[in-house]
């Protein structure tokens, strides 16, 4: 197992190098000029050129790349062109909201999706099954921003139960923080509920048709025991895989939800940086996301061994 982990971690190095080169070149080749955006509408061409020189953007691309890569190797992700703050600081500021939203969304999604998927499989081809699948389709079909606006209108404007927008950090208390995440987690969770429920149902159906399930039923075990202890556990690998993919997507931020609910997360930071051509932030974030996805994939693969004793690394 240790050797396997070590091999996987070593393999991330060339992956990260390719990602770094790719994202650096892609940004430089894309149209747009951060110096012009910084200077503003009333600036002259000479002023823009001066800013470009000041930021080092007039240097040869290879020189810019090696300066940046050298900093990466020392743990320095660079400095924002606009705010002059270190990229690591900006990421750190946005990490808590993103992680909290991710956790809240997963809790909402898993809490509803797995029971729904199990019930749909257990009641396959009945009204209950079709109803759950209908909910799943709706979950995919309804855009997150629409769900968000409706939730805000009902729960924030009309009922005044929950805030319209914003994120309250944990330093202001656990409860205020949770309150600020309920609506965004529900809005965002609908898509994940739909996805996880469908995967759970499909995986459960396959397992429920197995001989050992028939044996368990024949032995007179309670339905819940059969479903949860025997079937669900054996159906868990695809479910865990999808949840893992969901975690990876959530960490890189969900821009629409963050925008609608004004959550200052990594997704918005990424989009803002792209639109403003704040190269250091985009480059630093993409590297962080790539590293995170690699680690999550590794953890998912390792979890298979715990879920299925037949799997050994």
């Amino acid at each position: 197992m240790t050797a396997y982990i070590a091999r996987r971690l070593l393999a991330t190095i060339p992956v990260m190098a390719v990602v770094a080169i790719f994202v650096f070149l892609l940004l430089r080749l894309a149209p747009g000029d951060p110096a012009a955006l910084i200077a503003g509408d009333d600036a002259t061409s000479a002023q823009i050129a001066n800013i470009r020189a000041q930021l080092g953007l007039d240097l040869p691309i290879w020189q810019q790349f090696f300066m940046w890569a050298g900093g990466i190797l020392q743990g320095d992700l660079g400095t924002s062109i606009f705010s002059n703050l270190p990229v690591t600081t900006l990421i750190a500021q946005r990490l808590e909201p993103t992680l909290m939203l991710m956790v809240a969304t997963l809790i909402v999604a898993i809490s509803f999706a797995i029971p729904l998927g199990v019930i749909a499989a257990w009641q396959a081809r009945t009204f209950v099954d079709r109803f759950v699948m209908l909910l799943s389709v709706l979950g995919f079909a309804i855009p997150v921003f629409l769900a968000g606006y409706v939730l805000i209108y009902v729960f924030s404007i009309q009922l005044r139960w929950l805030p319209v927008q914003g994120y309250r950090p944990l330093s202001q208390g656990l409860w205020p923080s949770i309150q600020s995440l309920i609506l965004p987690a529900v809005a965002l969770g609908t898509t994940y509920i739909a996805l996880i429920a469908r995967i759970t149902r499909a995986s459960m159906l396959e397992v429920l048709s197995q001989d050992y399930i028939r044996t368990a039923n024949a032995k007179g075990l309670a339905t819940s025991r059969v479903l949860l202890l025997h079937a669900l556990k054996n159906a868990s690998i695809p479910i865990v895989t999808v949840i893992g993919i969901g975690i990876a997507l959530l960490i890189s931020g969900v821009v629409i939800t963050e925008t609608v609910f004004n959550i200052p997360g990594l997704g918005r930071l990424t989009v803002d940086a792209v639109l403003k051509r704040d190269y250091p932030i985009v480059q630093g974030l993409i590297l962080v996301f790539a590293a995170t996805k690699v680690i999550i994939n590794l953890l998912i693969d390792l979890s298979y061994a715990f879920l299925d004793p037949r799997i050994r690394h």
Partner: protein, 539 residues
């Protein structure tokens, strides 16, 4: 197989739902922590991303700057300058020597006194980049400190806009910073935020793209006098200001309705009727001068628009009502204007209106053909992601196509437009013929300050108009010694600009502001840079 839902499964689900419901019910009791301090929460048109108002022409940098810094002069709501940091001043009879003495009690947020060394260094730094400052400094012989509180400016000609320039508003405001900050080149960004203004920035709590926090400056000594625009008493009446950035326009509106923010600087115009219908919300015009005007900028470098008669043909493509209806919709908030100076201000002149208002696309095409147009493609930079420029560009494209002009619409995001418009290459090689933009109403209060009107060839704003006569007239305006004299020169400038066509305006409008009238009062309606002093809040 129909079975009863296992009780443990059902219980788990029910418990979860009950927990969520309880959480929701208790929400209202814990939303706002009890606090004795008053906090003004405002959402502006952009978030504060740079802290140096000398480094960028972004309006939000100016708003930030006016909160934490102060200026020697400030203009009132009619655009007339009044002393702010300056206590007394005098002008020699020949108009060549100015003497300024600072008021007592001016201190930076770190406790140091404001001295003439800080002032002179700040003005020099500001003059490196700001075009109005450079126009003034071009005629400056010396700027010297007499002592820590008095300094003089000696000119080689009686420049008539000294006080207006020192009190200019809009972009690149002449804020006074510490000498240690001001000695940095204006091409490098000052990253500290230590001023002498009515508020202090709490930099540790700054999250770019999310929130910027300011606290009342307890040591600020406001000037006497009724507040008007950027002049008079600037009194910080709230303990704390949070500029909360909310990206989504609908969420901004909902946040104001719910009372989570107190002020919304620029609500979407289509949401204004909803806000006006809320008894707790007031929607107001931001000052006597319209906040925005639109411009169709033309590239003078390349054919076919290197000829004035070709540019003049474009007048007949513009029906300002079409643009204003599309962008604003409500006629209460817009007006047509065929002056190169903001309409509704002192130097407005609509000479030539009958030509500019003659919307006739076919005539435009005929004039272009007569001037030598051979149906070559006209490259129009059409931004795809700007809430006003995008629809305005579409209106223009529509008119050009109706005229029969061969249009090549380059649909790119605004950032790419900003980059490409600086390109002097031929349009087919990455340059451009036309792009659409907007500007603040305060940037065109007079022809000397209107940088879009400049025709200094290579040194002009993008588009690079080049006309010696227009520049001579702009210089005459700056040296005029009376309002009547300036009005006469402004009329001549209007006539010459009609011929040169540095740009074509598509009208002006006011972006209203909305605020919680049940919570805050004392707003000073100002065009250009929103001011947040003098605002009181009751919880």
């Amino acid at each position: 197989m129909m079975g009863k839902l296992n009780s443990s499964l059902g219980t788990t689900l029910k418990t979860s739902l009950l927990g969520l419901a309880s959480a929701a019910l208790l929400a209202g009791t814990a939303l706002t922590p009890a606090s004795a301090e008053t906090v003004l929460r405002a959402t502006m048109h952009a978030d504060v991303r740079t802290l140096d108002p000398h480094w960028t022409t972004q309006t939000i940098a100016g708003i930030h700057g006016m909160l934490i810094y102060d200026t020697l002069f400030g203009v009132d709501d009619e655009g007339m300058p009044h002393p702010q940091m300056v206590g007394d001043y005098s002008v020699s009879d020949d108009g060549l020597e100015y003497s300024f003495t600072l008021r007592d009690g001016l201190k930076f947020h770190d406790g140091a006194d404001v001295t003439t060394a800080d002032v002179i260094a700040s003005l020099k730094r500001w003059g490196e980049k700001d075009q109005a400052a450079r126009a003034m400094f071009a005629h400056l012989d010396t700027m010297e400190a007499v002592d820590d509180k008095t300094f003089t400016m000696t000119f080689n000609a009686p420049y008539g806009l000294v006080l207006d320039t020192l009190g200019k508003t809009g972009t690149m405001v002449p804020i006074i910073m510490r000498e240690s900050d001001a000695t940095m080149s204006a091409d490098e960004q000052v990253t500290e935020a230590i001023g002498s203004g009515p508020f202090m920035m709490v930099k540790e709590e700054w999250v770019p793209g999310s929130v910027t926090v300011y606290r009342k400056n307890p040591d600020y000594v406001p000037r006497e006098g009724e507040p008007s625009g950027f002049s008079g008493a600037k009194i910080p009446k709230v303990d704390k200001i949070e500029l909360v950035w909310i990206d989504d326009s609908q969420t901004r509106m909902q946040a104001l309705i719910a009372g989570e923010i107190d002020l919304l600087e620029q609500p979407s115009v289509d949401f204004v009727p909803i806000l006006e219908g809320d008894p707790n919300i007031e929607v107001i015009r931001t000052g006597a001068v319209d906040s925005h005007w639109g411009t169709i900028r033309i590239n003078h470098l390349h054919p076919p628009f290197d000829k004035p008669e070709m540019r003049q043909a474009l007048y007949h493509l513009v029906n300002q009502e079409d643009y204003l209806q599309t962008i604003v919709g409500n006629p209460d908030y817009y007006r047509t204007c065929h002056s190169f100076i903001t309409c509704g201000t002192t130097y407005e002149d609509e000479t030539g209106k009958e030509v500019m208002a003659d919307y006739d696309p076919k005539k435009a095409y005929e004039m272009m053909k007569a001037a030598g147009y051979n149906d070559e493609p006209i490259y129009v930079l059409a931004a795809t992601d700007h809430h006003t420029i995008t629809p305005a560009a579409q209106v223009l494209l529509n008119a050009m196509r109706e005229a029969g002009i061969n249009v090549n619409a380059v649909s790119i995001d605004w950032g790419s437009v900003v980059a490409r418009r600086s390109n002097r290459e031929k349009p087919e090689d990455g340059g451009w013929h036309i792009f659409v933009t907007t500007s603040s109403g305060t940037t065109s209060l007079n022809p000397a300050l209107n940088t879009w009107l400049g025709a200094t060839c290579d040194n002009a704003n993008v588009g690079w108009p080049c006309d010696e006569e227009l520049e001579t007239l702009r210089g005459e305006f700056a040296f005029a010694q009376s309002v009547d004299e300036r009005k006469e020169v402004a009329r001549k400038i209007q006539e010459r600009a009609m011929y040169v066509v540095p740009y074509i305006s598509f009208g002006q409008w006011t972006q209203p502001m909305a605020y919680r009238s049940d919570k805050i009062s004392g707003i000073i309606p100002v065009t250009g840079l929103t001011v947040l002093w003098n605002i009181e809040k009751s919880e």
